[in-house]
Symmetry: D2
Subunit: 141 residues, 4 copies
Amino acid sequence: MTASKLTVEGFADLLATHMPQVGKAGIRVAAMGEGTCTMRVEPSGDMIRAGGTLSGPSMFALADLALYGAVLSRIGAVPLAVTSQMSINFLRKPPVKPMVAEARLLRLGKRSAYGEILIFSEGEADPVAHATGSYAIPAQG
Amino acid sequence: MTASKLTVEGFADLLATHMPQVGKAGIRVAAMGEGTCTMRVEPSGDMIRAGGTLSGPSMFALADLALYGAVLSRIGAVPLAVTSQMSINFLRKPPVKPMVAEARLLRLGKRSAYGEILIFSEGEADPVAHATGSYAIPAQG
Amino acid sequence: MTASKLTVEGFADLLATHMPQVGKAGIRVAAMGEGTCTMRVEPSGDMIRAGGTLSGPSMFALADLALYGAVLSRIGAVPLAVTSQMSINFLRKPPVKPMVAEARLLRLGKRSAYGEILIFSEGEADPVAHATGSYAIPAQG
Amino acid sequence: MTASKLTVEGFADLLATHMPQVGKAGIRVAAMGEGTCTMRVEPSGDMIRAGGTLSGPSMFALADLALYGAVLSRIGAVPLAVTSQMSINFLRKPPVKPMVAEARLLRLGKRSAYGEILIFSEGEADPVAHATGSYAIPAQG
C-alpha cells in the first residue's frame, strides 16, 4: 500500500552493484518511503571547494540519486531508468558538513516520472539547494 | 574588442589554483572567445557508468565550467562568480569517448549572467546534452 | 513576525492598479501568508482549449502571479519586482474548472527571490502543474 | 529531405482550427523549416504592461507555439502533441513592438521532443528571452 517497493537495503544493494562510485563518494541511502527517498553524503575530497564550501556538481549528483530512489520506491528495482532533465537552484552556500537530499515524486506515468528535491546541510532548517527532475522509464518487456 | 578578457592559459591557471580537482578529472580548457568557452574532458574513473556511458553529473560539471569560462571571458578573472541556477537536458547517451562543452553567454548584467551550453561527443554533430545556467557576479569593491 | 507584509486586499489593490488584465482574466488573490500566496482562477474565454482543458500559458500566468504574491508577502508592495526565470512542468491535463496556485518562497535575498508553485484543479489532491521561479528585486533608493 | 513536413499555411490552418485564440492574440506563423519555426506577434491589449513593456506570459505563449511548430515541422500535423515542460529566462525588457520567436529542435524521439527558443524584439540583435521546452508526442495508432 503505502510502503516503498524498495527498501533502504534494496536500493543500497542496487547502487553498490550498478554504481559503485556512489558509495566511494560517501553517499548513503538514508530513508525510503512511498514516492520519497532521502540520501546523505559525508563530504570528502573533490566535493570540497576552496573557501570551505561544497561543489555544485556534488549537490547535483546527490539530488539526482535521491530522485532516482523516489522513482524506484514506486516502480521497484528498475536499473535502466535514466534522468532526462534536471534543474537545480543553489540557494545558500553549504558549509563543509554532511548534506541530506529529500526527494518526492509529483507525478509517475508509465514512461516518465517527475519530482522535486530539497537539499539541506544536516540539521539546518533552510535548504541549500532545490532541484526538480524527470526520469525516463523504459518500456517493460 | 571582440577578444576574450581571459586566455585559455589564464582560465587554465585560475582553475589549477582555485579548483585543482578539475584538472585531476581530465577536464581541460579548449578555447576561449568573447562570451564563449569550450571545455573538453577525457573520460576516466567515476565518470564511466555501467553499460558504457558517461554519468549525468560529469556532464553537469563540464557544462557548469564551460559557462563559468564564458562569463570570465567577458569580465576577466573573478574567482567569486558562483552558479545560481543550472538546468540540463540529457538528449542522447554519450559513448565512452571525449566530450566537449561549448558555452555562450546570452546576457551579461552587472550582477548576473545567463547562457547556454551544448555538449557533444567529440566529432559528433548531434548534442548529447543541452544546458542553461545563471551565474551571480559579486559586487566589485 | 509571521504575518504577511501585504494583505489579500493589499495585493488585490496593487494588481488592480498595475495589472488590470489580471482581474479581467478571472484571477483573484485567495490567501496571503508569510512567504506564501494562493491565487485562484475561474476559467473563461481564451484559457479554455479544444478537448476541454486549460491552456499552458494560463497556468504559467497563474504560477507567476502566485510567486509574485509570495515575494511581496515578505518585502511589501514593490511593484517593480520582475520575473527573471520561470520553469513549469505540466503533470496532468486540468479539466475546465477553477484552478488554485499555491506559491511558497524558498529563498529571499536582497536582490532576488526564489520559490516554487503547485497548481491544482480546485478540490483535487494531485497537482496539475509544478513550477519554480526567480524574481529580481530592484535596489531600494 | 530538409524541408518542413508542414508549410507555413499548413501550420496556420491547424492553429486556426484547433487554437483560434492564437490568431485573435495577433500571433502569426512567420516561417517553417526542417526542425525550425518562427512565430511573430503584434502586441495588443492584455500583452501590454504598465511602463511600456510586454508581459511574461505572452512571451511564454509565443515560445511555446514556436516550439510546437518546430516539432510539427518534423512529424507533420499531430494536433495532440502537448507541452510537458517549459523553462523561460527573461533577459531584457521588450519594448511595445512586434516580437519574433525562433525555435529549433535539439532532439526528436518517438515519444518526446526537446528544443530551444530565442525571442527577439523585431529587428534587434540581442534576445529578450530564451526558453527551452519538451513536448510529449502521443503514440501513433
